[in-house]
C-alpha cells in the first residue's frame, strides 16, 4: 500500500515517529508549508520571539529531558539567527535537531528573497547538516539527523528543506534502523571501551596514592551519575565536577570538592595540580580547566575516558586512553577493580593524600564578605538565599559572566540535570530561553534563570514567550549596572581603566519591563528583602517572575587563575590570601 502525502506532512509525521513532543519555532515564507500539518499534529509548537531563543530553548529542553531538542524556523535571517545556539550546542555536546526552510530548489543559488547558504554557514557549528533536495528524502534525512544528534558524542544537526520539497508529494516510508545505518557507513561511534585499556585503568587506579576523579559533562550525557558515585565510593576518591558537570556528583557528598579551573575553588584546583592520577571521565581538558597546559597537573598520569576519539591527546597525552561511553566504561572499570580486589590486589594507601585534601577544604571554603549595612547586596548572598530556599528538584540556568561563577560556587547542586549553562561558547543571553526550554521539559519543577543585567538585555523578550505559552520561569537578575566579568578583568589586568563596561545605573527599569512582558517584577535592594522576595517568587506559578537584585559592582569572583597562567598562580579570596602557602 502506498500512501501519497506532501513533504510537509512527511516531515511532521517523521517528527512524530521520533517521539517529538515539542517544537520551538518561528514560521516564515519558506517553512510555511510545514506549519500547516502542524495544526493536525499532537506536537506542541512554542512560538518564540527570536530564533536564537528557539535554539536555546531546544538546548534547555534537551539537557533536562535527555531527549533531543527540536527547533524549526524559516530560511535566510531565521537560519542565521540559529547560528549562535547551534554553536553553543556543538560546544557543549547537546543533542538538538534544527529544521530550516530554504528557497525552492529552482531558486537556490539565485540570491532569492530570504535565501542564504544555510548548510554552508552551519557546517562548522553542527555535528552534521544536510540540504534535502527531494520530498522523498525527508524521512531518511529526519532519521539520520536524530540518530546522529543523539548517539556518540551528542550534538546539533540541521536539515535544510527547500519549499518545493515540502509542497511536493512523496510516497510515505519510514526507514528501518538497518537502512539508517547502511546510509551512514562512515558513522559508527564506539561505545565500549577497549577491554585491555579498562583493565589497565583499574590497575592504575589501585596503584595511585593521590588520585582525583575529574568528572565532566560527558557524565551527564551518558547518564553515568550513579556509576560515577559508585566508582568514587569504591575507591574512596575525591571528585571535582567541571562547570558542565555540576550536579553530576552531589555537592553534599563528602567526596565532592567542587569545581576546578580558572574560577574553581582552591581545593579542586590544587588537588588536581598535586595529584598523581587524574581519572578524566567525559571531560576534555578545556583551557579554562588546565590553565597553562605545560604546568597543568605535572605529576599526574592521565586516564582519559571519552566517547570522542579526537579528544584523546588533543590537549594532554593520556597514559590510559579509553574511547567509549562514560557509563559503560565506568561500570566496566568498577567490575575490573572489584575483581582485582577480590583476587588480592591491595589499593595503594591514599590516606595521607585524603587528609591533605580535606585540610585544604576546611581552610579554603568558597567565601565572601557580607555587605556593610546600607551598602548594595552581595551577589553571592543572593545566590545562597536562592539555593537555600529552592524547592526540591529546582533547575537553575545561568547566563555568562560573574553571576554564572557565583551560581556555580554558591548554589548547592545535589542532583544531575539541575544546572544549565553555556560552558563552551559562553553565550550571554543563554539563561532565559534555556530556562524556558527546561520548564517545558519539566513543568512541575521550579526553574530559576540566574542572569546578569547584561545577559538579561540580550534575550529578555523571550519572557513574553514564557508568559504567553504558560512556561512560568523565575529570573534573578543580579544587576550591578556593569558587564561584571569584563569589568573585573579591567580592574585586575588593565589598571582599572574601565572601557565600555558601564551599562547604566538607571536604565532599563527591570520591574516595569518585566511587568510589560506579563511577568511579576520585584525590586530588591536590601538583605532583609532578599529571602521574602524569593519566597514570594517561588509561590507564584501562574506567570513568570523577575527579581532584580541591586548588587555590588565592586565585587570580584575569586579564586581566579589569570588567563594563560599556571594553576599554581591561583589568586585566592583576599581574606584567604595570607594562608596561600598552605596550598602545597
Amino acid at each position: 500500500m502506498t500512501e501519497r502525502i506532501t513533504g510537509a506532512q512527511a516531515l511532521i509525521r517523521a517528527l512524530e515517529h521520533e517521539n517529538v513532543e515539542l517544537i520551538f519555532g518561528y514560521p516564515g515564507g519558506c517553512i510555511l508549508p510545514a506549519y500547516d500539518p502542524l495544526v493536525d499534529s499532537d506536537i506542541r509548537h512554542v512560538l518564540v520571539r527570536h530564533e536564537q531563543g528557539a535554539g536555546h530553548m531546544a538546548e534547555g529542553y534537551a539537557q533536562v529531558s535527555g531527549k533531543p531538542g527540536v527547533t524549526m524556523v524559516t530560511s535566510g535571517p531565521a537560519a542565521t539567527n540559529l547560528v549562535t545556539p547551534l554553536m553553543d550546542a556543538y560546544m557543549d555536546s547537546i543533542p538538538m535537531v534544527a529544521i530550516t526552510g530554504q528557497v525552492g530548489t529552482a531558486a537556490i543559488g539565485t540570491d532569492a528573497f530570504q535565501e542564504c547558504d544555510t548548510v554552508g554557514i552551519t557546517r562548522a557549528c553542527t555535528k552534521h547538516n544536510e540540504l534535502v533536495m527531494s520530498a522523498q528524502d525527508i524521512p531518511m534525512a529526519v532519521r539520520q539527523a536524530f540518530h546522529i544528534a543523539t548517539t556518540g558524542r551528542p550534538g546539533p544537526t540541521l536539515i535544510d528543506i527547500p519549499k518545493d520539497c515540502l509542497q511536493n508529494e512523496m510516497t510515505w516510508t519510514w526507514p528501518t534502523d538497518e537502512e539508517v545505518l547502511a546510509s551512514l557507513p562512515g558513522y559508527r561511534p564506539n561505545v565500549k571501551g577497549h577491554a585491555r585499556m579498562i583493565k589497565e585503568a583499574a590497575r592504575t587506579i589501585l596503584a595511585s596514592e593521590r588520585p582525583i576523579i575529574y568528572a565532566g559533562g560527558g557524565i551527564l550525557k551518558s547518564r553515568a551519575a550513579d556509576a560515577l558515585r559508585e566508582l568514587a565510593e569504591l575507591i574512596d576518591t575525591y571528585v571535582v565536577t567541571t562547570l558542565m558537570a555540576r550536579g553530576a556528583f552531589p555537592d553534599e557528598h563528602p567526596l565532592c570538592i567542587g569545581m576546578p579551573g580558572m574560577h574553581g575553588n582552591a581545593t579542586a584546583v590544587t588537588a588536581m595540580q598535586k595529584s598523581d592520577l587524574l581519572i578524566a571521565l567525559g571531560s576534555r581538558f578545556d583551557d579554562r580547566i588546565t590553565g597553562k597546559v605545560d604546568s597543568f597537573a605535572p605529576d599526574a598520569k592521565i586516564i582519559h575516558v571519552d566517547i570522542d576519539p579526537a579528544e584523546q591527546g588533543k590537549v594532554r597525552r593520556p597514559d590510559v586512553p579509553i574511547v567509549g561511553d562514560a557509563k559503560y566504561v565506568i561500570e566496566e572499570i568498577i567490575k575490573e577493580i572489584k575483581s582485582l580486589l577480590a583476587a588480592g590486589t591491595v589499593q595503594a594507601d591514599t590516606s595521607a593524600w585524603k587528609s591533605k585534601v580535606s585540610g585544604w577544604r576546611e581552610q579554603f571554603p568558597m567565601t565572601y564578605e557580607p555587605a556593610e549595612p546600607g551598602a548594595p547586596l552581595k551577589p553571592q548572598y543572593c545566590i545562597e538565599q536562592l539555593s537555600d530556599l529552592a524547592p526540591e528538584h529546582t533547575i537553575v540556568a545561568s547566563g555568562v559572566g560573574q553571576h554564572q561563577m557565583y551560581a556555580s560556587h554558591f548554589w548547592q547542586f545535589n542532583e544531575p540535570y539541575t544546572w544549565l549553562n553555556s560552558g563552551g561558547l559562553g553565550t550571554m543571553g543563554y539563561s532565559i530561553p534555556a530556562a524556558i526550554g527546561a520548564k517545558a521539559a519539566k513543568p512541575d519543577s521550579v526553574v530559576w534563570a540566574i542572569d546578569g543585567d547584561g545577559c538579561f538585555q540580550m534575550t529578555a523578550q523571550e519572557l513574553v514567550t514564557a508568559a504567553v505559552e504558560e512556561l512560568p520561569i523565575k529570573v534573578a537578575v543580579l544587576n550591578n549596572s556593569y558587564l561584571g566579568m569584563v569589568r573585573q578583568w579591567q580592574e585586575m589586568f588593565y589598571d582599572e581603566r574601565y572601557s565600555g563596561v558601564l551599562l547604566d545605573q538607571k536604565l532599563p527599569d527591570f520591574v516595569k519591563w518585566a511587568e510589560a512582558m506579563g511577568c511579576v517584577g520585584i525590586l530588591v535592594e536590601s538583605p532583609e528583602e532578599v529571602g521574602p522576595a524569593i519566597e514570594k517568587a517561588n509561590s507564584i506559578n501562574d506567570r513568570p517572575v523577575v527579581i532584580e537584585f541591586r548588587t555590588d559592582a565592586s565585587e570580584l569572583v575569586f579564586p581566579m587563575v589569570p588567563a594563560g597562567q599556571s594553576n599554581d598562580e591561583l589568586i585566592l579570596h583576599p581574606t584567604q590570601q595570607e594562608k596561600a602557602g598552605e596550598l602545597s
Binding site: G120, R123, I148, G186, H194, M197, V293, A310, Q312, R317
Partner: protein
C-alpha cells in the same frame, strides 16, 4: 612523512592522506573547511570517484608536523561522510601526478625542448609558431625536475593535477602499507598524540 625538495629548493614535510568519502554534495567543502578551521594548509588535492559506486577518494597532501596530523586525522574522521582515512608512507606507496605546460619555443630552443620532453618520456600535445604545450605524467619528484628544467625556457602557463596515491602492492604478504584510521575500535596509547593542537 617525507621531506620533498621543491624545485625552488624549499623543503617541506609532507604527508599524504587518502580519504575515502561518500560522494555527496558538500563533502569536499566539509573536508577542506576542516583544514581551514584548524589552520592547516593543503598542499595539493585530488578528488575523483573511487572503485565502489557512491564513493570518492580524496588524496590530500599536507605539510604539517606529525603531531597535529594525528589530531586532524581524528577530526576528519568525525565527519559523517568520511568512511576511511589512510596515511600513506611515500616509501611504500605509488604516487603519480600529471603536468601540462605551455612553454616558449622559438626556433633556436625548440629542438632542446623536444629533447628534454623525450628524455623525460613526456609528450608534446600542441604546437604553435612560438610555443609548445607539453605533458608529463609520473612521480611528483620527476615532475619537479622536469618543471625546473622547463623553467629555463620560459613557461607561459603550467598546471599540475596534484598527486594521487595508493599503497604499493605487497607481493610477499597480504595487506598493504597504509596506516589506517581508526587503527582499531579503540585507541591504544601508541595511536594517541602528545602536545597541543589548538
Amino acid at each position: 612523512m617525507t621531506a620533498i625538495n621543491l624545485y625552488d629548493g624549499q623543503v617541506v614535510n609532507h604527508h599524504i592522506l587518502s580519504v575515502l568519502v561518500q560522494n555527496r554534495p558538500g563533502v569536499l567543502a566539509r573536508v577542506a573547511g576542516l583544514f581551514a578551521r584548524r589552520g592547516y594548509n593543503i598542499f595539493s588535492l585530488a578528488v575523483a570517484p573511487a572503485e565502489s559506486s557512491g564513493m570518492s577518494r580524496i588524496t590530500i597532501v599536507v605539510d604539517v608536523e606529525s603531531t597535529p596530523l594525528e589530531q586532524i586525522t581524528k577530526q576528519l574522521f568525525k565527519l559523517i561522510d568520511v568512511i576511511k582515512i589512510s596515511e600513506l608512507d611515500p616509501r611504500s606507496s605509488v604516487e603519480r601526478e600529471l603536468l601540462i605546460a605551455t612553454v616558449k619555443a622559438p626556433e633556436e630552443n625548440r629542438g632542446h625542448i623536444v629533447e628534454l620532453v623525450n628524455i623525460f618520456e613526456g609528450k608534446i600535445i600542441a604546437v604553435a609558431q612560438m610555443v609548445l604545450t607539453v605533458s608529463l605524467e609520473g612521480h611528483p619528484d620527476k615532475l619537479d625536475d622536469f618543471e625546473e628544467l622547463l623553467g629555463g625556457y620560459g613557461i607561459v602557463e603550467l598546471q599540475r593535477t596534484g598527486r594521487v596515491a595508493l599503497p604499493k602492492i605487497d607481493r610477499g604478504t597480504r595487506g598493504h602499507a597504509a596506516k589506517q584510521f581508526p587503527a582499531s575500535s579503540s585507541s591504544s596509547s601508541s595511536s594517541t598524540t602528545s602536545g597541543k593542537a589548538g
